[in-house]
Symmetry: C2
Subunit: 197 residues, 2 copies
């Protein structure tokens, strides 16, 4: 092999060859996708800000107010909501680094209750779960997850359940987590398993 004149080998790294996400995490993937949907006027879906309990704020002259003491609060709802094709959309997104199961402790009980409540009122509610070890991102209708949660005699969901119950969410450069495709199939296709028609 012929080296470069400076004696170094070609500067390619593993990162440069892995297509697509290059170290982006699920949250930034979803945010990029949502911005794409928003720009194309396909849907209006946003991540909610991280809830913070603000304790102390400084108001320096001639500059922006500075928060000097604050704490993270437990979220009382899911992270994402908005509107698509006239329907209220609500979901939570989780990255799971385990290979065999998804632990229920990754969801707060009030998030489960929240998903159950919005379903009762007519929402399209679901979870997006990425198994980082397999680089697979699943769409799971909230109803399925809640039913498993309520009936299962265990503290986690086996990995195989996701393949049977959920759908792999397609990914592209512009839409790294293109979950609207799955929503179209499940909720807006005649005969779609969750559609009204």
């Amino acid at each position: 092999m012929v080296n470069y004149p400076n004696g170094k080998k070609g500067g390619w790294t593993a990162a440069a060859t892995s297509a697509g996400r290059r170290g982006m995490n699920l949250e930034s993937d979803i945010n990029r996708t949502n911005i794409f949907y928003l720009d194309r006027d396909q849907a209006v879906i946003h991540k909610k800000p991280t809830p913070v309990q603000i304790v102390k704020v400084d108001y320096p002259q001639r500059s922006a107010a500075k928060i000097t003491e604050a704490y993270f609060k437990l979220p009382s709802t899911t992270d994402y909501n908005g509107i698509y094709r006239g329907r209220y959309i609500d979901f939570e997104a989780k990255e799971c680094s385990l290979k065999t199961s998804f632990p229920f402790k990754m969801l707060h009980p009030h998030q489960i209750r929240h998903l159950d409540a919005v379903l009762r009122h007519g929402a399209i509610a679901f979870l997006i779960v990425r198994f980082t070890e397999y680089d697979e991102t699943y769409f799971i209708p909230a109803r399925n997850m809640i039913d498993f949660y309520n009936t299962a005699d265990r503290h986690s969901i086996p990995y195989e359940w996701f393949g049977k119950t959920g759908r792999i969410i397609p990914s592209s450069f512009l839409k790294p987590v293109d979950y609207l495709q799955i929503i179209d199939e499940l909720y807006f296709t005649e005969g779609g398993s969750l559609s009204d028609g």
Copy 2:
């Protein structure tokens, strides 16, 4: 008139006689109302957390992570959203201390754009505006506000416009800002001015 033995008159103040809110502001009134709706399972509507840019976090041993430097960010959406009777609900709430008009600068241009976008996708979108001087709280369909904003050759909306365009939101102890009543009238009553039917 007979004074109290200490020579003072009876200790009643204006605040003590004003029924209902006693110094609560619009935000806490809406939050109380939303909690009532949630408890009765009438609707699931929440205020979004204040958006904050977190710069520095301390992780002291044996105690909660402490944010030691953070700044307020401009919100890119409205403050409230959720679901009611299958419809996506989205609104912004503002208190106005002026007597004659509501200045447009109280709304950010991207909040106007956001309301316009969710309307296109089928939302029930509106503003709640309280004129504190009159203790009147108005429900204004977003469409009306946006049309005025786009066509008006002025920087504010005259107070009288609210009486003509909006509805006064009923108030009670348990539901200080009972805006679902107005939504029922406008959007879910046959012949309601904004209903589909």
